[in-house]
């Protein structure tokens, strides 16, 4: 659905993106993460066909952003990190304007705004002015405006910023429902913990490049991440695991973060092999902070 090849983007005095390549399959939710100023927003704006690449190619649903920006806009919804609403208009009028401005035919406008309002849970607030809504409800209205025309691709820049825990949970549910409805979502976020709730892949952007050179699977039911700790330091800890055919994300003398099958027998065998090899295993369990650990393990790695 989204394909980026060797994307380079330059501001007059600096290069913001350098050789970014990625593929986002249809009906997935991919997270863009990275430090402040890494280039996430610039990348999202390039995906939204708002900024033309200096070089490289960005295609959305098979259309080149440089050649067909307007066609792409009809298939795309985008909510920037700092977005605005027409505070003096009611929710109904905000959604109506969004529907009109996306070219929805007059006879279909009422249905479109009712559906969008229902999806984002604003059906009972249609006559409230946008300026009177809470932060969480404003976020929902922003997303409602972005999806009123049923886009194929939805780009959200820091949608969870400033939301309370309940609103974040609601947001996760909403994003999953949009994916189920057939949309492809790219979400930029700083909050790693919640990405596991709805993302299938994570792309780390650092210094304008994809750290590690490829996306990282956020959650794999069959092959989760495990954290192994040993009581006595061993410099060959990582090497032993790799030699045993284990997918090692990161390892030092005391810890190893691995991706391994959930199969009980396979885990028991690995544990047995470790103990047999003299490693004093003090902990072996599914990592609760796997995403965060993966993130920090990738920061600093660059595309070859």
């Amino acid at each position: 659905m989204i394909e980026v090849r060797d994307l380079v983007y330059e501001y007059p005095a600096k290069r913001a993106l350098e050789g970014v390549s990625l593929v986002v399959p249809p009906q997935t939710i991919v997270a863009l993460v990275g430090p402040n100023g890494a280039g996430k927003t610039t990348l999202l704006r390039c995906l939204a066909a708002l900024e033309p690449p200096y070089s490289g190619v960005v295609t959305i649903d098979g259309l080149d952003t440089r050649e067909h920006p307007r066609e792409i806009h009809t298939r795309l919804g985008y909510l920037p990190d700092f977005y605005g609403l027409y505070d003096e208009l009611t929710v109904r009028r905000c959604l109506t304007y969004a529907a009109w401005s996306h070219g929805i035919v007059v006879t279909a406008v009422e249905g479109a705004i009712a559906k969008a309002a229902e999806r984002v849970g604003l059906s009972d607030r249609m006559e409230s002015k946008a300026g009177e809504l809470s932060r969480g409800l404003r976020q929902r209205l922003g997303i409602g405006q972005a999806i009123v025309h049923e886009p194929k691709v939805l780009l959200l820049d820091e949608p969870a910023a400033g939301l309370d825990p309940q609103a974040r949970r609601d947001l996760s549910v909403l994003l999953l429902s949009l994916r189920e409805a057939g949309m492809t979502l790219v979400v930029s976020s700083h909050i790693l913990a919640e990405l596991e709730d709805y993302c299938s892949e994570m792309i780390i952007i650092e210094n304008g490049r994809v750290a590690g050179g490829r996306p990282i699977k956020v959650k794999d039911v069959d092959r989760p991440r495990y954290l192994i700790e040993i009581a006595t330091a061993r410099s060959d800890f990582g090497k032993f695991l790799k030699d045993a055919g284990v997918d090692v994300v990161e390892a030092d003398e005391h810890h190893a973060l691995i991706i391994h099958t959930r199969n009980a027998a396979a885990r028991a065998k690995l544990l047995h092999d470790l103990v047999t090899a003299g490693f004093e295993v003090s902990s072996f369990g599914e990592s609760s902070k796997a995403l965060e650990e993966t993130y920090f393990s990738q920061i600093g790695k660059r595309t070859a």
Binding site: E10, Y11, P12, A13, K14, R15, A16, E18, P35, N36, G37, A38, G39, K40, T41, T42, A48, A49, L50, P52, Y54, S55, P69, R70, H73, T74, L76, Y78, P80, F82, Y83, G84, L85, Y86, E88, L89, R93, Y97, A98, W100, S101, H102, G103, Q145, A146, H149, N207, G208, R209
Partner: protein, 453 residues
Amino acid sequence: MGPEFRRNLWLELTPRRVVFMIAILALVFFAAAVSGPSWTPYSAAETIYYLIVVIWGARNAGLSIVNEIRDRTWDLQRLSSISAAQMTLGKLFGSTIYNWFGGAICLTVMLVYGFAHGTPGSTILDLIYYVIVGLVAQAAALLASLVAIRRRSAHSRLDVFLYQFLGVVAAIAVAYVWEAADPESALLLGRKSSDVIPWWGAVVSARPFLLLSLAIFAGWILAGCYREMRRELKMQNGPLVWAAFLVFTGLYVAGFDAWLPHEAVMANWNVVALRLALASTTFAALTYVMVLLEPKDRVLYRWYASRIASGGVGLALWGLQAWIMSYGATVLVSLALIWWLFAQGYGAFYPAIAVAGLGFLTRDVSIFVFSSATRRRGDFVAIVALFALYVLIPAILDGVGLKSMLPLFYPTPSNPVWLGPAIVWGEAIVAVAFAVSRVALGGKRVASGSWQS
């Protein structure tokens, strides 16, 4: 009616505001009607029209996009399916619909008053003029804001005042031109009014000619707004409209050869030379205006170079900036003028001045590109540099008795005649080299964590 216009109707024409406008204007016209002969409803309507439609309307038009940027809704509009024409008209007439509502009441009063006093023909022409002056003021303010947002995203109150000011200046220019055909106003200003205007050798009736000219230039301003809006909506413009504007402006201005002071510097020039000189000067002026207004985008110039290097000359030409096209037109017409002057046996004096003028233009645009390619306030630096080159240094040289060096700083005769142009082109080549190196080499690095993404 486009979505943007309808949204503005929701926001601008609320019942309370409509009633307020009607009540205030009714009070004003009633006061004018009862206050005596010096202040009539017509003169009150005229004054209020200027206040509401020209001054306030220009402000609202200048704010129409700036407010979207401030309120962070502009990106959402840019991503919509609203066409450039709908967005332009929606912004221009939607943001000023309340002003036009008040203005329509004023025009109605003027119309009724004019018909009641037995001057229907003149009143109708006046009404057309008033609509044009309002349209020009608002469209010029919108155009100024559209040009400005290409250069930067932050807009202060001063910036908005500047857009409004430019709109009002455009309106004053329209009013000034209109007065040339208005015997009463011209008399009051101590100028000679004229019923006829010589243009392209023909003598045309002033009032219809000026009205048509104003309408056409209002159309060009609207076309400018439309093109800038297309650019904002990520649509490619192509060079044809600007090329058409250059051709139109060159031909329009060249027709005023009869207005030039034949007895002074251009003694004995024939009509072709005069018209070529007028056209080339117009193009040079447009080059300066556009090189100041357009962003000197280093990335864009590199993109031109990379397209040309990869054989995509057509693609690069299709994306040419207006100042580059204006510069090209200046060079072409100036070369034609130089050739014509030689062919007609005018000697080397005038051609040398024209060659020097081209050299100065080349140097100056290079200074703009060099200064602005990597700096935010590069245009200001370029203007200061040009002020020093054209005013300060010549004044100092003149003061210390070095007048012979003046050809270095502006087109003046030199001895030998080609020495001045040769030196100027030396300056121009150095300036071009600096500009090209700044565009090609400077600042191309991958930044670290401190970037603004």
